[in-house]
C-alpha cells in the first residue's frame, strides 16, 4: 500500500457524526432522568440520549447517592458493570490506528486538563468511572458517569458502590488494578487478575503494549489491496475482486 493511500487527508472524511438526540428513546428513560434530576438537584451535571439509550453524568460527591436513588427508587436493581475509562489519546496509538507503521507518532496530547475529548455525557477530567444499571422488570438500562480526576496529584477517585451492590466489589477491584482508580469505601482493593507485585495500570492509554512495541502488528497485511478509499462496494459477492 502506498503511503498516500493512508494519508491523514484520506482519513478525515466521511465520518458522519450522528445527530444528538434530544428526546428520550422511551418514556421510561425520560422518567428516570427526571427522577434523578429531582432527587439529586444540581448533582446531575448533564444527561444525553441516543436512539436506544440514556446517559447521566453526576458530580463526584453525588455518585453514591445516584446509585442509591437508582437502586431503591427507580428499580434499577441489577448491576451490569462498573468500570473506568481513560480519555487520553495515547501518542503511539494514533499511528497504530492509521495502520501505517512508518507514520510519525502524533503529538503527545499532554497531561494537562482540557487536553482530551470525552464522550457522551461530557466530562472534565481524564479519568471517568462509568456504570450500567438495568431494570429487569421494565427492561430499561441507564449508564451513569462520573469524573474521577486527572491522576496528576494522587490517584483518580470515586465513591465505592459496594454498600449498594455487593457485586461492585470485583468490578471496582478490576478498575483499580487496570486504571489505578481508587474507590472510597471499598473493603479491600487488591489485585484480581494480575500478580500481587505487578506495577503499572495496563488499561491506561500511556501503558505501552509490549507486543506492539517489539513487533509490528501482522494484521497490517490484511489491508493491502483493498479497493479505493471509502467507496461503498457491493460487498456481498466480490470484496476487492472488482477493484
Amino acid at each position: 500500500m502506498s503511503p498516500e493511500a493512508e494519508s491523514p487527508e484520506a482519513t478525515d472524511v466521511v465520518v458522519a457524526e450522528p445527530e444528538a438526540e434530544t428526546s428520550p428513546p422511551t418514556e421510561r428513560h425520560g422518567q428516570m432522568v427526571a427522577a434523578l434530576r429531582d432527587a439529586l438537584g444540581d448533582g446531575v451535571i448533564e444527561h444525553a440520549y441516543s436512539a436506544v439509550d440514556a446517559w447521566v453524568r453526576v458530580r463526584p460527591d453525588a455518585w453514591f447517592e445516584a446509585g442509591r436513588v437508582c437502586k431503591e427508587r427507580l428499580g434499577l436493581s441489577y448491576l451490569c458493570f462498573v468500570s473506568g475509562i481513560d480519555w487520553k489519546q495515547a501518542p503511539d496509538l494514533g499511528a497504530t490506528k492509521r495502520w501505517d507503521p512508518d507514520a510519525e507518532p502524533t503529538e503527545d496530547p499532554g497531561d494537562g486538563p482540557g487536553r482530551w475529548t470525552t464522550g457522551v455525557g461530557g466530562g472534565e477530567t481524564r479519568f471517568q468511572v462509568f456504570a450500567r444499571l438495568y431494570d429487569v422488570t421494565r427492561h430499561v438500562g441507564l449508564t451513569l458517569k462520573v469524573d474521577a480526576g486527572d491522576g496528576l496529584d494522587g490517584a483518580p477517585k470515586a465513591a465505592s458502590w459496594v454498600p449498594l451492590f455487593r457485586g461492585a466489589d470485583w468490578h471496582e477491584r478490576e478498575a483499580w488494578e487496570m486504571y489505578g482508580l481508587e474507590f472510597d469505601g471499598h473493603p479491600g482493593l487488591r489485585h484480581l487478575y494480575l500478580p500481587g507485585e505487578f506495577e503499572g495500570f495496563p488499561l491506561r492509554k500511556d501503558f505501552p503494549l509490549l507486543a506492539r512495541e517489539v513487533k509490528p502488528w501482522p494484521g497490517l497485511v490484511n489491508v493491502e489491496g483493498l479497493p479505493g478509499e471509502d467507496e461503498p462496494t457491493e460487498s456481498g459477492e466480490a470484496d476487492g475482486a472488482d477493484a
Binding site: K97, H191, P202
Partner: protein
C-alpha cells in the same frame, strides 16, 4: 492488632504464585486450595476456602490465570479483527460472543443486517447455546460421580459442532460474523441435517431427564443446595439461566429489541422459583429444548435474500458510545463500545461477561456449605474461565 478474615484472604491471595502449598493447617481451621487444576473448574480458576471441619468459613476465588487483556488488545485492532479475539472469551459458545460486538458496531454505523443474515445469526447463536449447555448437562453428572451423562453429552454435542463447522469452517471459533451480515451463506443440505440434529438433541435432553433429573441421588445432592435469593442475585449481577433459576423472569432474547430473529418464533422463557443447584440444572435443560425449537422454526421460516448489507470497504465507525447486550449461553454478555471516529478499532471496549458476575457471588454463596457441596455449587453455576478472565 487484630487480623481480619479479609486481610488473611488478601495475604493468601497474594501468595497465589506459590501453588506448591495446597493447604496449611493452623490453629483454627484449615485453608484448602481448590484448583487451579481441579476438574470442577472449567479452566484454571483457583478457589481458596477456609474450612472449619467440613464447613466453609470463607471462600475466595482467585481468577487471572487466563487473563489475556482483551480490552487492551481491542484498542489496537480494527473492528473486523476484534471478532477473532472475542471468539475466545466463552469458547464453548463462540459465535454468541461475536454477535453483540458486531451489533454494537452496526448500531454506531447505523446499518442493519438483511433479514436472512439475522435469521442465520440467530440459528448459529442458538447452536452455540446448545453446544455450550449440552456439555454442562453432562458435566454436572461427572461432578456428582455419574460418568455416563458426559459421554452422552460429547456424543450428541458432536452433531451440533459438525453443523457449526460445515457452515462456518470452525468447530470452536467460527469467526463468521461480519459488520453488515455474515461471511457466507449456509451450505446446501444444511437445513435438513440441522433438523435431524435437533431431534437428536431433544432425545439427549430426554435422556438427561431420565438419568439425572429423575434420579434420587442427584436430587438429594442438588435440592436446597446453594440457594441464591432473587435480590442477592440482582446485586451481584447474576444473569442468564442462573438468574432465571432464582425466579427472575428476564431473558434478553425476549426483552431486548435487537435486529435478530427471536421475535419471529414461538418459544418460552423458563424460570424456577427455588434458586438452588437443581433449579439451575433444570432451567438449562429446558432452555436446550427451547433452543432446538427455535432453530427448527427459524429453519422453516428462513427468508431468501442477500446475507450482507452494503458497507464501505474500509470500516469506519463514527464517534459515539453504545452498549449492546444479548442473552448468551452463560448469561448477559455486553459490549460497551466507545468509538472516537478514527479508522482503527474501538477507543475503549468494555466487555461485560456473564461468568465474571456469576462467579463474584461465590464468596457469599459458599459460606457455611460443606466441602462436597462446593463442587456441586461451582458446577451448577457453570462458568467458563475465558469468560471470567477475558
Amino acid at each position: 492488632m487484630t487480623v481480619t478474615d479479609y486481610q488473611k484472604t488478601a495475604y493468601v491471595a497474594s501468595q497465589a504464585a506459590d501453588a506448591r502449598i495446597s493447604f496449611d493447617i493452623e490453629a483454627e481451621g484449615m485453608t484448602l486450595n481448590i484448583g487451579p487444576q481441579h476438574p470442577a473448574t472449567h479452566g484454571t480458576l483457583r478457589i481458596i476456602v477456609r474450612l472449619d471441619g467440613e464447613q466453609v468459613i470463607w471462600a475466595d476465588p482467585v481468577p487471572g490465570y487466563m487473563h489475556r487483556g482483551y480490552e487492551k488488545l481491542c484498542e489496537v485492532r480494527d473492528y473486523a479483527q476484534v471478532t477473532t479475539l472475542i471468539n475466545r472469551i466463552d469458547w464453548l459458545g463462540s459465535f454468541a460472543n461475536e454477535v453483540p460486538f458486531i451489533l454494537a458496531a452496526e448500531q454506531l454505523m447505523g446499518i442493519e443486517a438483511p433479514p436472512r443474515a439475522q435469521y442465520i445469526r440467530t440459528i448459529l447463536f442458538e447452536m452455540a447455546r446448545i453446544a455450550n449447555i449440552s456439555l454442562f448437562l453432562g458435566d454436572m453428572g461427572v461432578q456428582l460421580g455419574a460418568l455416563t451423562p458426559v459421554f452422552f453429552a460429547f456424543r450428541d454435542r458432536e452433531h451440533v459442532l459438525n453443523l457449526i463447522e460445515s457452515a462456518t469452517g470452525g468447530r470452536f471459533h467460527p469467526n463468521f460474523d461480519r459488520i453488515g451480515g455474515l461471511k457466507d451463506d449456509l451450505p446446501k443440505g444444511w437445513i435438513d441435517e440441522c433438523k435431524q440434529a435437533m431431534r437428536r438433541i431433544r432425545s439427549f435432553c430426554d435422556e438427561m431427564d431420565d438419568l439425572l433429573v429423575g434420579n434420587a441421588v442427584f436430587q438429594q445432592r442438588t435440592r436446597g443446595i446453594g440457594v441464591i435469593p432473587r435480590d442477592i442475585a440482582l446485586e451481584y449481577g447474576v444473569s442468564g439461566p442462573n438468574a432465571r433459576a432464582s425466579g427472575i423472569d428476564w431473558d434478553l432474547r425476549r426483552d431486548e429489541d435487537l435486529p435478530l430473529a427471536w421475535k419471529h418464533c414461538d418459544w418460552k422463557v423458563w424460570t424456577h422459583p427455588d434458586g438452588d443447584s437443581f433449579a439451575r440444572y433444570w432451567v438449562r435443560l429446558q432452555e436446550t429444548r427451547e433452543a432446538t425449537r427455535i432453530i427448527e422454526q427459524l429453519c422453516d421460516g428462513l427468508p431468501a435474500g442477500p446475507i450482507r448489507a452494503k458497507v464501505p470497504a474500509r470500516i469506519r465507525v463514527p464517534r459515539g458510545e453504545v452498549f449492546v447486550h444479548t442473552e448468551n449461553p452463560l448469561g448477559e454478555m455486553g459490549y460497551y463500545v466507545v468509538s472516537d471516529g478514527s479508522p482503527g478499532g474501538p477507543f475503549r471496549c468494555k466487555i461485560r461477561t456473564p461468568s465474571f458476575s456469576n462467579i463474584s457471588i461465590v464468596p457469599w454463596l459458599l459460606q457455611g456449605v460443606y466441602v462436597p457441596d462446593v463442587i456441586t455449587i461451582l458446577a451448577s453455576l457453570y462458568f467458563i474461565l475465558g469468560d471470567i478472565d477475558r
